[in-house]
C-alpha cells in the first residue's frame, strides 16, 4: 500500500511461453512447491507459478524444479523457455510486459519450434587411451616422455612443460578432427545446431541439436553406433529430449 521501497518479493515465477490452447501436465509443481498455471494472452500462454521466496532463488532445488517443469512441458507441444530467474508481479504484468509486446515474435518462434526438441550431445575422451595414441603417433612426444618419466617432479621442468604442450596441441587437433567427423553425421539430422564448447581435450563435441521428433530415433541410433565405434576411446552422451533452451535466442 505504501510506496514500495524494496523490490517486490512475491509474484509469479515465469518458466516458458507456450500455446494457450495446450494442456499443462497435472500435478506439476514449481520452484516454490506451488502449482504451475497458464496465463493466457491470445494464442500465447505463459507458464507460471506463485513465488514468495523473499526474492531469492538459485538454490539447487529451484534449479531442479525449473528444469523439471520445462522437461514436463516438452511432450505437450512447443515450448519457448524463459531464462531462469524471471519473476513478474502478477497476471496482468505477465500479459502487458512479457506476452503482449512480443506477441508476433513469440508466435513465430513457437511455430518454428513446433514438433522439435533439443538434444545435448557430448563426446569426452578416455584420457589414457588418447595419451597412448599420441605417444604412438608422435615420435617427439614419445621421446620427450622417455626422457622425463621417472624424474622427480621438480627436475626437467622445461622439458615436461614442452611435453605437455606437445600433447596438448596434438590432442586439440585430434579433438577438432573427431568433432568434424561426429558432427558430420549428427548435424544433417537436425534443423539447427549450436556448438556449446569448441573441441578440446575435455570434450571433442559439446553441442545442442534441434531435432524433429520423428527423427529422434534416428539420432539415438546414430549416437549408439558412434558410441560403440568409439568405445575405449571416447564416451558419448546424449541428453534429451529437452526444451529448446539453446534455440530461443534473446527475443
Amino acid at each position: 500500500m505504501t510506496a514500495p521501497q524494496t523490490p517486490v518479493d512475491t509474484g509469479l515465477f515465469v518458466y516458458a511461453v507456450v500455446r494457450a490452447d495446450r494442456d499443462l501436465p497435472s500435478g506439476l509443481s514449481g520452484v516454490d512447491g506451488s502449482g504451475v498455471a497458464l496465463v493466457p494472452h491470445g494464442d500465447l500462454g505463459a507458464v507460471v507459478s506463485d513465488f514468495a521466496e523473499g526474492g531469492r532463488t538459485g538454490r539447487r532445488a529451484d534449479l531442479a524444479a525449473y528444469s523439471a517443469v520445462m522437461e514436463a512441458l516438452v511432450p505437450g507441444g512447443a515450448v519457448a523457455p524463459i531464462r531462469f530467474g524471471l519473476v513478474v508481479p502478477d497476471d496482468s504484468a505477465v500479459v502487458s510486459e512479457l506476452l503482449a509486446p512480443r506477441e508476433q515474435q513469440l508466435s513465430s518462434l513457437l511455430e518454428w519450434l513446433d514438433g522439435q526438441v533439443q538434444y545435448n550431445v557430448r563426446a569426452t575422451y578416455v584420457e589414457d587411451a588418447i595419451l597412448a595414441e599420441l605417444v604412438h603417433g608422435y615420435p617427439e612426444i614419445a621421446e620427450l616422455r622417455e626422457r622425463t618419466r621417472g624424474l622427480p617432479e621438480d627436475v626437467g621442468i622445461g622439458e615436461r612443460i614442452k611435453l605437455g604442450e606437445l600433447v596438448s596441441r596434438a590432442w586439440e587437433q585430434l579433438a577438432r578432427d573427431d568433432a568434424e567427423r561426429l558432427l558430420a553425421t549428427l548435424v544433417p539430422m537436425s534443423t539447427a545446431h549450436t556448438v556449446r564448447r569448441a573441441p578440446s581435450p575435455q570434450a571433442a563435441v559439446d553441442a545442442a541439436l534441434l531435432v524433429e521428433t520423428e527423427r529422434a530415433q534416428e539420432l539415438e541410433d546414430a549416437m549408439e553406433d558412434m558410441a560403440e565405434q568409439a568405445v575405449g576411446r571416447m564416451r558419448l552422451r546424449l541428453l534429451g529430449p529437452l526444451a529448446p533452451y539453446d534455440f530461443v535466442g534473446a527475443a
Binding site: 532463488t57 534449479l63 525449473y66 531464462r83 605437455g164
Partner: protein, 140 residues
C-alpha cells in the same frame, strides 16, 4: 559425470536423465529468452555455480598435468620404473615450480573471488606420488 545411465540399444551410449545439479546447471545456464527489465530475483546462487563451472586453469599447469599423465601411462614398451635418487634437483628449477603454482593459485583465487582457502585439490595428482623433497614446501 558418472550418473547412472539407462543403457539402451548397444549399451555404449550414456543416456542419463538430466537430474544431477551439474547437468541441470549446464543445460539451463545462460539459456532461454531474456527479459531484462523483470529479472528481480537474486541470482547469487547461479553466479557462484557459473564461476565453479568455468574455472580456467593457466596453461602451464595444464601442460604439466598432461606431462604427468603421459608419464604415468603404462605402455607395453615401457622401460621399467626405476626411481631416481631424491637428491637430483636444483633449487632454481624448484623455484620456478613455486612461481608457476603460485601464479595459478593467484588466478584461481581471483576467479573464485573470496571463497577462501580452497588450496589445491584436484589439479595436483602428482602429490600422491612419493615426494622427492619432503623438507621443501612450495613457496613459503
Amino acid at each position: 559425470m558418472t550418473v547412472q545411465a539407462q543403457r539402451r540399444g548397444s549399451g555404449y551410449l550414456d543416456r542419463p536423465a538430466p537430474s544431477s545439479l551439474a547437468d541441470v546447471v549446464e543445460i539451463i545456464l545462460d539459456k532461454g529468452i531474456v527479459i531484462d527489465a523483470y529479472i528481480r530475483v537474486s541470482l547469487v546462487g547461479i553466479e557462484l555455480l557459473t564461476v565453479d563451472a568455468r574455472i580456467v586453469i593457466a596453461s602451464v599447469d595444464t601442460y604439466l598435468r598432461f606431462a604427468e599423465a603421459t608419464n604415468r601411462l603404462d605402455l607395453l614398451e615401457r622401460g621399467g620404473g626405476r626411481e631416481l635418487p631424491d637428491f637430483i634437483h636444483d633449487m632454481q628449477q624448484s623455484g620456478a615450480t613455486g612461481k608457476v603454482s603460485g601464479a595459478v593459485k593467484g588466478a584461481k583465487k581471483a576467479l573464485s573471488s573470496g571463497s577462501g582457502d580452497d588450496d589445491e585439490e584436484e589439479e595436483r595428482p602428482r602429490r600422491a606420488r612419493k615426494s622427492s623433497s619432503s623438507s621443501r614446501r612450495r613457496s613459503s
